[in-house]
Each structure stands twice: as structure tokens, then as C-alpha cells.
């Protein structure tokens, strides 16, 4: 009788165990030429048009190429386009790289560029990048390796904006359709996909036909591990080579265990948004006062180990086009803040709603709480409302976010002042700000194709933004990574990606 029980239990256990698919097991017990990367979240599909978040660029850069890339100093560099020139204020011509093949053997040519851009602009494909290319009127194929892009009005940032147009294979895309393409994607990148399971892992193998330098690792395994402690535990146990987005509290301990910890600036500026059409934020003195009342350096030191880079009274850092070296950060000066508030008619401060997100961005709740605590010293009282991540997004996109909110606004991959400022135009769908001078200088820089003149306008725009202060300038976000000592050639770029052909495992 008892033996029967044991047998039954044993059988139950075996049945339940054998039901699991064990296939990825071999991949996790990997040879040295497999780079194993632990990341907090994989994209929901591998179509690079599904999500505009910078955190997915590390995946896109393995599989895909763009015509133009932007280097860490904000300069445009040739990729699949070898050269480009401006024929008229609304016509660009791109010369394409020859001899480039897609993973499935298709040739890369002008048709691929045309098909990719029309896929992005087709409402049916719901591309997250469509909004960036609305100025494109036409893509003309001059010959198989020359394309002209015609815009409806001058679009000085076109070349750099192409850094988000990942080139797709026209024939395969048409055959597979968007849904299947996202699961079995094909690009021209240095790696091709071997296996993909949403929310679990994606495995890539080096593509022998890649046009550029050959990758130094045979394959890359990206595993989604939501918990930061789970990613670092995997690294410490030798199961992982790179742990992405480690929490700053772990930095000391990881260093003490002889692991490399790298922190590098990413292309996102953390700003406290002040709705300039809401009283009392309609008064620039009040907005400047809030800048004087905020100690971004203290927040950086207390919450981010001092790893991030405080902004200098402008929306971008020194590696972006449009950074104005003449502008300096608002110093932390509560006395000056109180004085400005008095001048504006608020000697006893005021109460205001701060709608923050909770868990959408790294330390968002703590940052909001600290800002509010600092403002309390100048008698500005926050009614801090912390919203669940998607509710916050819903408020943002429908333009009903509270008078004060905070977010890291993307500046990458273009690394250009135009990118974050787009969110603060009076015509913007989010109704974040309404300041005529900002609209005006923004339009000026959009209207010129002369880079020197454009830079002048961007500097003017930065000055106006400093004076008008539609935001409180906090800091440029950082990415923090922990690496096993055998990983070499890992330089993390402002879009969180690493150079897939330079990275190696030391052998």
C-alpha cells in the first residue's frame, strides 16, 4: 500500500517534470564563445517598429543596420549609406553600400530603403517611429544604390533621424507579414536570430555574410530576468557575462567581488515638467524659483551614487548637438527661490499637484519624493500623486497629466536638442508647455539646412529654455552595467547598446 503511494507520487513528479520543454537548457550551459546577457525586459516582438524605448536598441543593433548611425559624441556616421548630400532644402541624396546581404540572402538596395520607409509610414504597421518621419513626402530610387528622400519642408535632422529606421528586407517582409516577421526577423546586422521566446530569451548567432568586421563571439544569448538581484546573482554564479541595469545599491558589493561595474550616460534627460499654462506655473519667476529650490546634485548623490550627470540648465548634455556651453546650471539657492516667489506674489508659497509615476522609470518615486521635500523648504507643498506606470502613460498621451510631473525624455539616438524640445512645443499633443519664444526658435532651427546657422538657433533655443524654465533640470540618466572580468571591448552607447562586433570574451 505504502509502496503504491510512493510510486504514484514519483509518477506524478516525473509526468510534471517531463512536460516542460527543456530545449533552451543547452544554451544556458554555454561554451565560452556565447555571450550571455541578462536584461530586465526583451522587446515584445523582434520587429524594431514595435517599441520606441531606447532600452531595446541593444537588440535592434544585433539584428539590423540603419543608413546612418549617431556616435557617442552626437556625430552622424555612415552605415548602410556611405555618403549623403543635400540637393535642395527638401531633397537629400543617399549613396548606398554595395554588396550587403540580408540574413536570408536578399540583396540590400534602394528598394529596401524605400520599402522600409513606406512600412514605417504605413498606418497599418503601427510603427512607433511613424511620427518621426511625417515630413517625408517621397522616396525616389535613382539607381539601385542611390535614393533621394523628398521632404515636405526642410528637415535638417533627417540624416540623424534615420538612425531609428532599421532596414528591413522587402521581399521577406511582404511574404511573412508583420506578425511572423516579429518572431522570425531578418536584417542585415552582424547577428541573426536563432530562437526567440517573448519574456524569456532571445538567442542570436553570428551572421557569416555580414558586410562589416566579423563579430568576436559566436552567439549572443539575451535572457530576460526582471529582478535586478536575479541578474547580478546570475553574474556572480558565472551563468551571465553582462548584467544590465543593476541597481546602484549593488555597485559596492559587486566591485568587492572583482566584477567590473560600468556606468555610462544614456541619451535621456530627467526633467521635472512644469505646465506653463497652469497657475502659478504660468509665471516664469515661479518656474525659475523651483529650479533654485531643487538640488539636482544632492539627488544624484543620494539616490544614484553620484553616477549620473547633472544637466547644465538645458535639456541636453555636452555630447548632444545644441548643447550651449555658455549656460550654467541653476545653483541650489533656496534664498533666491523664496525671493522670486515673493516677487511673483507667492511669499507664503503654494500647493500644487505632482503627478509622478511609480515604477515606470528607475527610482521615479524616490526622485519625486526628494524633489517635493526640497521644495517644502521654500514653502511649496506638493500633493504627490503616484500613478501606476500605464495610468501615468495614459495621462501623458492624452495630455491630462497634472501641473507637475517628471520623466526622463529621450535625446538619443539623434543626440540633438530638437528631440526633447519637441515635447514642450505649444502645438504638442501632450500640452506640456506653451511658450511662444520656444516655438519660434524651434521653427527657426527647423527651417535652415545650414548646420552653422542651425547651431546658432539651437543655442538661442537653449537660452530661451533656460530663461523660461518650462522644466526643472535634473540630470542625464545613466545605464549601470556589471560585467564578468573576461568580457572585453564593451563600450556602452547612449542607447544602451554595445558594439556587437567589438565585444569579446577574451579568447
Amino acid at each position: 500500500m505504502r509502496r503504491l503511494h510512493v510510486l504514484l507520487l514519483g509518477a506524478l513528479l516525473m509526468v510534471s517534470l517531463s512536460a516542460v520543454r527543456w530545449s533552451p537548457g543547452a544554451a544556458f550551459a554555454a561554451p565560452r564563445s556565447v555571450l550571455r546577457v541578462a536584461i530586465p525586459v526583451l522587446p515584445r516582438t523582434l520587429d524594431p517598429n514595435v517599441d520606441s524605448s531606447l532600452v531595446h536598441f541593444k537588440v535592434w543593433h544585433l539584428l539590423y543596420d540603419t543608413l546612418v548611425a549617431v556616435d557617442a559624441s552626437g556625430k552622424a556616421e555612415p552605415r548602410l549609406a556611405t555618403a549623403w548630400r543635400i540637393l535642395s532644402p527638401t531633397t537629400w541624396e543617399f549613396k548606398l553600400r554595395r554588396g550587403v546581404k540580408f540574413h536570408n540572402g536578399e540583396d540590400f538596395d534602394a528598394e529596401a530603403v524605400r520599402a522600409t520607409l513606406s512600412y514605417i509610414l504605413d498606418p497599418a504597421s503601427r510603427s512607433t517611429w511613424a511620427q518621426r518621419f511625417t515630413l517625408i513626402a517621397d522616396v525616389k530610387m535613382v539607381d539601385p544604390y542611390t535614393v533621394q528622400i523628398i521632404t515636405t519642408q526642410p528637415f535638417p535632422l533627417l540624416a540623424k533621424t534615420l538612425a531609428v529606421a532599421f532596414i528591413l528586407p522587402p521581399k521577406y517582409l511582404a511574404k511573412a507579414g508583420a506578425g511572423k516577421f516579429g518572431l522570425t526577423p531578418v536584417g542585415t546586422g552582424p547577428f541573426r536570430v536563432r530562437a526567440f521566446r517573448s519574456d524569456e530569451y532571445a538567442q542570436f548567432e553570428a551572421f557569416g555574410g555580414y558586410w562589416g568586421a566579423k563579430p568576436k563571439v559566436a552567439s549572443v544569448l539575451m535572457r530576460q530576468i526582471r529582478e535586478a538581484s536575479g541578474r547580478t546573482a546570475g553574474l556572480e554564479a558565472g551563468e551571465i557575462d553582462i548584467a544590465y541595469e543593476i541597481s546602484v545599491e549593488q555597485v559596492e558589493r559587486l566591485r568587492s567581488r572583482n566584477l567590473n561595474v560600468v556606468a555610462s550616460v544614456v541619451g535621456a534627460s530627467y526633467l521635472v515638467n512644469l505646465k506653463t499654462m497652469v497657475k502659478p506655473l504660468d509665471d516664469a519667476r515661479v518656474r525659475r524659483a523651483l529650479n533654485y529650490a531643487t538640488d539636482a546634485t544632492a539627488i544624484n548623490n543620494a539616490l544614484l551614487l553620484g553616477l549620473s550627470r547633472p544637466l547644465q540648465g538645458q535639456m541636453v548634455g555636452p555630447n548632444s548637438t545644441g548643447f550651449n556651453p555658455a549656460i550654467k546650471a541653476y545653483p541650489y539657492d533656496p534664498e533666491r527661490a523664496r525671493q522670486l516667489l515673493s516677487e511673483a506674489g507667492y511669499p507664503n508659497g503654494f500647493r500644487i499637484t505632482f503627478e509622478g509615476s511609480n515604477g515606470r522609470f528607475y527610482k521615479d518615486k524616490e526622485i519625486a519624493e526628494t524633489v517635493c521635500a526640497q521644495w517644502a523648504k521654500v514653502r511649496v507643498t506638493c500633493d504627490l500623486v503616484l500613478l501606476e506606470s500605464n495610468v501615468w502613460l495614459q495621462h501623458l498621451v492624452s495630455g491630462v497629466l497634472g501641473p507637475v510631473s517628471a520623466a526622463p525624455w529621450q535625446t538619443a539616438p539623434q543626440l540633438d536638442l530638437e528631440v526633447p524640445v519637441t515635447n514642450f512645443l505649444s502645438t504638442g499633443p501632450r500640452k506640456m508647455a506653451s511658450i511662444p519664444a520656444i516655438d519660434e526658435w524651434f521653427a527657426q532651427q527647423r527651417g535652415t539646412m545650414n548646420p552653422v546657422q542651425r547651431l546658432y538657433y539651437l543655442h538661442k533655443l537653449a537660452e530661451v529654455i533656460y530663461e523660461e524654465a518650462p522644466v526643472v533640470f535634473l540630470f542625464e540618466n545613466i545605464g549601470a552595467y556589471a560585467l564578468s572580468p573576461k568580457v572585453g571591448g564593451a563600450r556602452f552607447r547612449p542607447d544602451y547598446s554595445f558594439d556587437p562586433v567589438a565585444i569579446n570574451l577574451g579568447d
Binding site: 507520487l9 506524478l12 513528479l13 510534471s16 517534470l17 512536460a19 516542460v20 520543454r21 527543456w22 533552451p24 537548457g25 543547452a26 544556458f28 550551459a29 515584445r44 516582438t45 517599441d51 520606441s52 498606418p123 503601427r126 512607433t128 517611429w129 511620427q131 518621426r132 508583420a178 506578425g179 516579429g182 518572431l183 521566446r197 517573448s198 519574456d199 524569456e200 530569451y201 535572457r223 530576460q224 530576468i225 526582471r226 529582478e227 538581484s229 536575479g230 546573482a233 546570475g234 556572480e236 554564479a237 558565472g238 551563468e239 506606470s389 500605464n390 495610468v391 502613460l393 495614459q394 498621451v397 492624452s398 495630455g399 525624455w409 529621450q410 519637441t422 515635447n423 499633443p429 501632450r430
Partner: protein, 304 residues
């Protein structure tokens, strides 16, 4: 007789499924807008409105509900918005991992819980009993995310005998199964102890002992069948909770089960996915309680 029980229970299962489908439909629509999944920060409202129409979320609620019931009746759980794959495929991909974790945790809880509780009851007041009761309290009090992290640190990072996360073999199952099983082990141990203590004081056991039966026989033949009824009930409830997905354990160990999938679905307002997952879990729970009812009939003559 048996036919009537089975028929009655089958009707109840169908009723439960329709109820679950209706509740999840209503509750999800209170939770937020699924179109946000497609919203980059610069997406114009008009674009979102167009996507809402394409997905059919602009139709009146009752139309959406009727459409939904219609497709359910055809066995169609729909297409996940987030993963852009059929919901059935996503669920079936994750079901084995969920069942393996639930099964292993259940077996651990059953073996450890029942034996600890039984020994505790028989050796009431002994050192063993005290350790076991304290252990059971601790097991129920320790939060699974903490226990999981501690197990990862000890067995994965320091001793390096087991993998820290992921799926891939029986070794990957050990830590999550123990983490998940700990809570239920403790609950079952406490309940078994109480159930046996109650029965052990009964007159018929004294009679059995007075007849000169060996103690082991007294326990197995006379005490166990009577103590088993509450234990079977709790085991059934435990199993139902386990197949519902162990969200915390799955997250800590990056275990690819349904719990995590469902949380992703909820966060993304992936209506079809969450609806499908809830229905599948409701079906599993209904089947388990169906089986429990049959088991009752076996252990308790009064239930027949």
C-alpha cells in the same frame, strides 16, 4: 448515481466558466486602455483613436461582450495585442512550465507537510513537535521573494550547486519548487497536526488500541481515514492556488510560467491574453474541484 454527480458537476463547471469569462471581461475594461501599448510618447491622439477602431475597442461595451462570447463559443481565445500571437499558443507554451512548478511544489508540500504534521501529532509536546510547529510558523511567515533570494544566494552564488534562474532542466526546478512549496508545506503540516490530534483523542481509537492493535495500524487503518477529510480539502485548494501561477516565485527565478505571462498581460492591458489565461486557470481549478468531489466520495462514505 455517479452519472448524476458527474452531470451536475459538469454543468457547474460550465457555469463557473461563463461567470469567470464575464467577470474578467468587465474587470479588465475598468483597468485602462489597451491602445496605450502602441503609444510612443509622441503618438498623436488621432493615431491612437484609429488603432482603437481597428482593434474594435470603440464599439459599445455590449457589442464587445457579445463578440467575445461568440468567439469563446467557437473556441477562439483571440490574438494577443502585446505578443501579436494567438493567445492559445502563448498559454500552451507556458502551461507545461506552470504545471511542472506547481506539481513539484505540491509534491514537496504533500510529502514534507503531511509527514511533519503526522509526526508532530503523534509525538505531541516533544522537541520534534516544537521544532516542527516553529518551522511551520516560519514557513508561512517568510515572504517567498525573500526566501527565493536567500536560496539563490546560498545554492546559486556561494555553493554554485544550482542555477540561479531560468528554466532548462530538473536542476532549474529545485529552488523555485522549494520556494513555492515552503509556504504550502507549512500550511499542510499545521493542518495535518491539528486533524490528527482531533482524531487521536476519539473513543474508537482507544477501542482499537484496547483490542491490542499495533500503533502503526491504529494510525493508518483507523486514524488516517478520518483525519484525511480536512487534509484532502486543503490539498485541493492548495493545488488550485498553485496552478493559478506563482507570480512572485516565477518573477524571482525568471521561470517562464503563466503567472508571469498574465502579469505582463495585465500591465499591458492585453485583454485577449488576460481573458484567455483567466479562463484556462478557471478551467483547471474547476477540474481540480471536480476531481476533489470524486475523491471525497471515495474517502467519506457520507458524501456519496
Amino acid at each position: 448515481m455517479l452519472f448524476r454527480i458527474v452531470l451536475g458537476r459538469t454543468l457547474a463547471v460550465i457555469l463557473v466558466m461563463v461567470g469567470a469569462a464575464t467577470i474578467v471581461f468587465a474587470v479588465l475594461r475598468l483597468s485602462g486602455d489597451p491602445v496605450l501599448l502602441y503609444a510612443a510618447p509622441d503618438t498623436p491622439l488621432a493615431t491612437l483613436e484609429r488603432i482603437r477602431q481597428e482593434l474594435g475597442f470603440d464599439a459599445p461595451m455590449y457589442i464587445q461582450y457579445l463578440r467575445y462570447l461568440g468567439s469563446l463559443a467557437r473556441g477562439d481565445l483571440g490574438y494577443s495585442l502585446r505578443y501579436e500571437q494567438p493567445v492559445v499558443r502563448l498559454l500552451l507554451e507556458r502551461l507545461p512550465a506552470t504545471l511542472a512548478l506547481a506539481g513539484a511544489a505540491f509534491v514537496i508540500a504533500l510529502i514534507l507537510g503531511v509527514s511533519a504534521g503526522l509526526i508532530s501529532a503523534v509525538r505531541r509536546g516533544s522537541v520534534y513537535d516544537q521544532i516542527s510547529v516553529a518551522g511551520a510558523l516560519l514557513g508561512q511567515a517568510v515572504p517567498p521573494f525573500w526566501l527565493g533570494l536567500m536560496l539563490i544566494l546560498v545554492f546559486g552564488v556561494y555553493l554554485r550547486v544550482l542555477p540561479t534562474s531560468g528554466s532548462g532542466g530538473i536542476r532549474h526546478l529545485v529552488l523555485p519548487a522549494f520556494t513555492l512549496g515552503a509556504f504550502f508545506t507549512a500550511r499542510i503540516a499545521r493542518l495535518t497536526r491539528t486533524a490528527f490530534l482531533e482524531v487521536l483523542g476519539e473513543d474508537y481509537l482507544r477501542t482499537a488500541r484496547a483490542k491490542g492493535l499495533p500503533e502503526r495500524r491504529v494510525l493508518i487503518r483507523h486514524a488516517a481515514p478520518n483525519a484525511a477529510i480536512p487534509i484532502v480539502t486543503v490539498l485541493a485548494v492548495t493545488l488550485s492556488q498553485l496552478v493559478g501561477g506563482a507570480i512572485v516565485t516565477e518573477t524571482v527565478f525568471a521561470w517562464p510560467g503563466m503567472g508571469r505571462l498574465m502579469v505582463q498581460g495585465v500591465l499591458a492591458r492585453d485583454y485577449p491574453l488576460v481573458q484567455g489565461a483567466v479562463l484556462l486557470i478557471a478551467a483547471l481549478v474547476a477540474v481540480i474541484s471536480f476531481a476533489t468531489d470524486l475523491l471525497y466520495a471515495a474517502v467519506d462514505p457520507r458524501a456519496r
